[in-house]
């Protein structure tokens, strides 16, 4: 090496790095790497673009480009009056919006629903943000105090509030009532069932298994039919349930079986040492569960619970088959109004319902993903 140092043509400073070729950096490079790296890949890309175009272009055309935005009745949304292709008929949704949200809840009483929505939002938001303190109080308020307050606010009959029959409820209100009540009521039942399924007592275990597998084996729609048609026959003479109440019972039984399986997953993930440690401290069964096992297990299954909730939220649409008016049912029943009857009315209604459901479910699934990531940091084993 040393005898070469005096060669004058060897440069003494390092050459400055040239910028990478345009074709490998920036947007173009990214495209080359990800979209057009080989011939099959290019073909795939082109097919993908064509697919995306043929799916989203008509949708965007229908929802925005060709949509009608203002009007008072069906005339505004008829092609012969507009003089062009007509997409979504948004004024119809605008006119029916209150019904989609409140159902046939009396107009002058709708503030009560608003209060319930507001209370729910005020309680659920801090509950969902992990950094907000006082989770225990918050949870108690949400799971115990809120249902009672909401029940009396919505049903009425106390403090001079006029009674509003549940047959007048509808739209998003019914969807949320069924989904939230179903999940809140099924959580404790599900925990009991999950503990029962892991119990040492054979009969308790057997009955829990039968209960869980039965409800998981039948479709929700048959459960709803059972609740609406058969339940009245099971009750003693003269005792009748409100129709919404019957549906709620059916939904709760159904989702508690799913909840039990979710919770069981969490219980199984707790190492045996935790049980043994708790027992070594002399804790009784319920103390051990309440103080050691369940707090850990439930934390683990939050994504699972959210998943069950999303499923239940979507499944509430089935109540329209047994003649209740949830959001989708309310949308469907509005199709019978001749004031707004137009060829695009039903598509608009379905699109609106789909958008609402999608926003709720997508939001929840994102949240569940976020929680999953957050929980994983501490629990990777």
């Amino acid at each position: 090496m040393t005898d070469m140092t005096d060669l004058s043509y060897v440069r003494t400073t390092e050459a400055e790095a040239k910028p990478a070729p345009v074709s490998t950096t920036g947007f173009i490079g990214w495209m080359r790497r990800n979209l057009f790296s080989s011939i099959p890949n290019t073909i795939l890309t082109l097919i993908g673009i064509w697919l995306a175009y043929s799916i989203f272009a008509p949708l965007i055309n229908f929802a925005f480009v060709h949509a009608v935005w203002t009007g008072d009745n069906r005339d505004a949304c008829l092609a012969q009056n507009v003089g062009r292709e007509v997409g979504a008929c948004w004024p119809y949704v605008e006119a029916y919006f209150p019904q989609f949200i409140y159902g046939r809840y009396p107009v002058e009483e709708r503030y009560r629903v608003d209060i319930v929505y507001l209370l729910f939002a005020l309680l659920i938001v801090p509950m969902l943000i992990p950094s907000v303190p006082a989770k225990r109080l918050n949870g108690l308020l949400l799971l115990v105090a809120f249902p009672i307050v909401a029940f009396f606010l919505l049903v009425g009959g106390v403090f001079g509030l006029p009674v509003v029959e549940t047959s007048q409820w509808g739209g998003l209100l019914v969807t949320l009532v069924i989904a939230v009540t179903g999940i809140t009521a099924s959580l404790p039942i599900g925990i009991l069932l999950a503990l029962g399924r892991r119990s040492d007592m054979p009969i308790v275990r057997l009955l829990s298994i039968i209960f869980i597998e039965f409800w998981r084996g039948v479709p929700l729609i048959t459960v709803l039919f059972m609740a609406s048609v058969m339940l009245p026959l099971f009750l003693p003479e003269g005792v009748t349930f409100d129709k919404l109440m019957r549906v709620l019972i059916g939904v709760t039984l159904f989702s508690s079986a799913y909840m039990a399986e979710v919770v069981r997953g969490g219980l199984q993930a707790i190492p045996k040492g935790q049980y043994e440690g708790a027992q070594a401290l002399g804790l009784r069964f319920w103390q051990m569960m309440r103080l050691i096992i369940l707090p850990q297990a439930l934390k683990l299954v939050i994504p699972g619970i959210v998943g069950t909730f999303i499923g239940l939220f979507k499944d509430t649409t089935l109540v329209l088959i047994v003649g209740m008016f949830d959001l989708l049912g309310q949308v469907q029943s509005s199709f019978t109004d001749p004031t707004w009857a137009s060829p695009s009315q039903s598509h608009t209604g379905y699109l609106f319902a789909a958008a609402i459901f999608w926003v709720f479910c997508f939001g929840m699934s994102r949240y569940s993903l976020f929680m999953e990531k957050k929980l994983h940091t501490g629990h990777k084993r």
């Binding site: 990800n34 979209l35 790296s37 890949n41 795939l44 890309t45 993908g48 673009i49 697919l51 995306a52 040492d200 007592m201 054979p202 009969i203 308790v204 009955l207 039965f214 998981r216 084996g217 039948v218 479709p219 929700l220 729609i221 048959t222 039919f225 059972m226 048609v229 058969m230 026959l233 099971f234 009750l235 003693p236 003479e237 002399g282 009784r284 999303i310 979507k314 499944d315 649409t317 089935l318 329209l320 088959i321 989708l328 039903s346 598509h347 379905y350 319902a353 789909a354 459901f357 999608w358 479910c361 997508f362 699934s365």
Partner: protein
């Protein structure tokens, strides 16, 4: 806490029966059984009293009464003069058909989308992502309505020129029209040849596998099987004098308007209710399956792919021979529950007039008023279907499970 410590310290280990876990367990169980029996008795008692008081007939006698209503799709012989029991059987078969085809279709779409989700191609993976996130966050019932009502309006009317696929399969608002194979005498030989072909191909495959294990020599199993399964029946078909003919759907363009269009009963007709339900079910379930497949593939450590590549195995065979078999172990259990969901969700057929068990049963319920019996039949059938699917998938899972040498 303090009280409890005292308890523990102050009392001898076998103090009282109350604290004996065995006795307590027994006590709880007795209480539970008593409660369940009491509740069950109460329900049965109330029901009997209610039925008697209201003069509602009960029992399963109604199953042999003439049904009197028509059903649009039936794989077994059915007419209006058949019994309610027969009508319910038609419903059961229709449920099984849509669930079975739906499971296959959903699996195919789900695997494609799941793999596409992991593709290096940005467009493809984002497209798969959009598909999954849009479809699985919209209620299935809404999707069924979409496929049925939106798609119905998009295809030609019953009496207009239908959409045609190679001039053999047609699509219009009456559904899909395809040729129907007519089996004449001698066709049983062709069917037998087909079965023989499949059986022999299977044996060859096992033999080839064994030989490869023993000697390392490969055998062209695929082409042999192909020849056996396709070739044998074709030879039999030609030898027996072509006993199977195709009955093409007949499109009439003149005469009374109501008689125009495809003729009922000629060719195979797949009703649009079936198509819509099938599409909705499989597209919806596929979005869940895709996520399961993605998670399953990601669960296989990346070292496996690298090792396979290092051995010089190309991308396709790597996926097929190395990744998927390992991923399957993770995939199968959640896949089973998706299959069960699909089967149960097929009950939403009732919303769009596909005559499945719930739909037909609903009609029977209305005509006879025997709610308990009909709902009981529903639940029993779905429970059996669920158990059968679980049993099959458990068996498959065991086959696929890791066999340690």
């Amino acid at each position: 806490m303090a009280v409890q410590e005292q308890d523990l310290v102050g009392k001898p280990p076998r103090a009282s029966l109350v604290n004996d876990p065995k006795v307590r367990g027994l006590f709880y169980q007795v209480v539970l059984v008593a409660a369940v029996v009491f509740l069950g008795w109460e329900i049965v008692h109330n029901t009997i009293v209610n039925l008697e008081k209201r003069n509602i007939s009960s029992g399963f006698d109604f199953l042999s009464i003439t049904a009197g209503f028509g059903i649009i799709q039936s794989v077994i012989d059915y007419s209006e003069t058949a019994s309610y029991g027969r009508a319910l059987m038609v419903g059961v078969y229709n449920t099984i058909i849509v669930a079975f085809v739906g499971i296959i279709l959903a699996t195919i779409i789900g695997f494609i989308v799941g793999v596409a989700r992991l593709s290096n191609n940005w467009v493809i993976s984002k497209l798969a992502y959009c598909y999954i996130e849009i479809v699985r966050n919209i209620p299935l019932l809404l999707q069924i309505f979409f496929w049925y009502f939106a798609a119905l309006r998009a295809v030609p009317d019953a009496r207009e020129e239908p959409l045609s696929l190679f001039g053999v399969v047609f699509l219009n608002i009456g559904g899909l029209w395809a040729p129907k194979p007519i089996f004449e005498s001698g066709s049983s030989i062709v069917v037998a040849a087909l079965i023989a072909g499949i059986v022999i191909a299977f044996i060859v495959k096992r033999w080839a596998h064994k030989r490869q294990m023993a000697t390392g020599e490969q055998f062209p199993v695929f082409w042999t099987a192909f020849g056996l399964i396709i070739g044998l029946p074709v030879i039999a078909y030609l030898v027996t004098g072509m006993p199977i003919s195709l009955e093409h759907p007949e499109f009439v363009n003149e005469g009374p308007i109501l008689r125009r269009g495809f003729q009922i009963g000629i060719g195979t007709n797949v009703i649009p209710e079936f198509i819509a339900l099938l599409l909705a079910l499989s597209v919806y379930t596929a979005s869940f399956i895709a996520e399961i497949v993605r998670a399953g593939i990601q669960a296989v450590s990346h070292g496996q792919t690298e090792a396979a590549h290092a051995l010089g195995i190309r991308h396709g065979p790597t996926l097929r021979l190395v990744i998927i078999p390992q991923a399957m172990r993770v995939i199968i259990p959640p896949l089973t529950s998706q299959y069960l969901n699909l089967t149960k969700n097929s009950s939403l057929a009732v919303a769009i007039a596909y005559p499945d068990l719930v739909s037909v049963g609903g009609t029977v319920l209305n005509q006879t008023g025997q709610a308990i019996e009909v709902i009981g039949i529903w639940m029993l059938v779905y429970l059996s279907l669920s158990l059968a699917t679980s049993a099959f998938m458990n068996w498959y899972n065991q086959r696929m499970a890791l066999v340690e040498r």
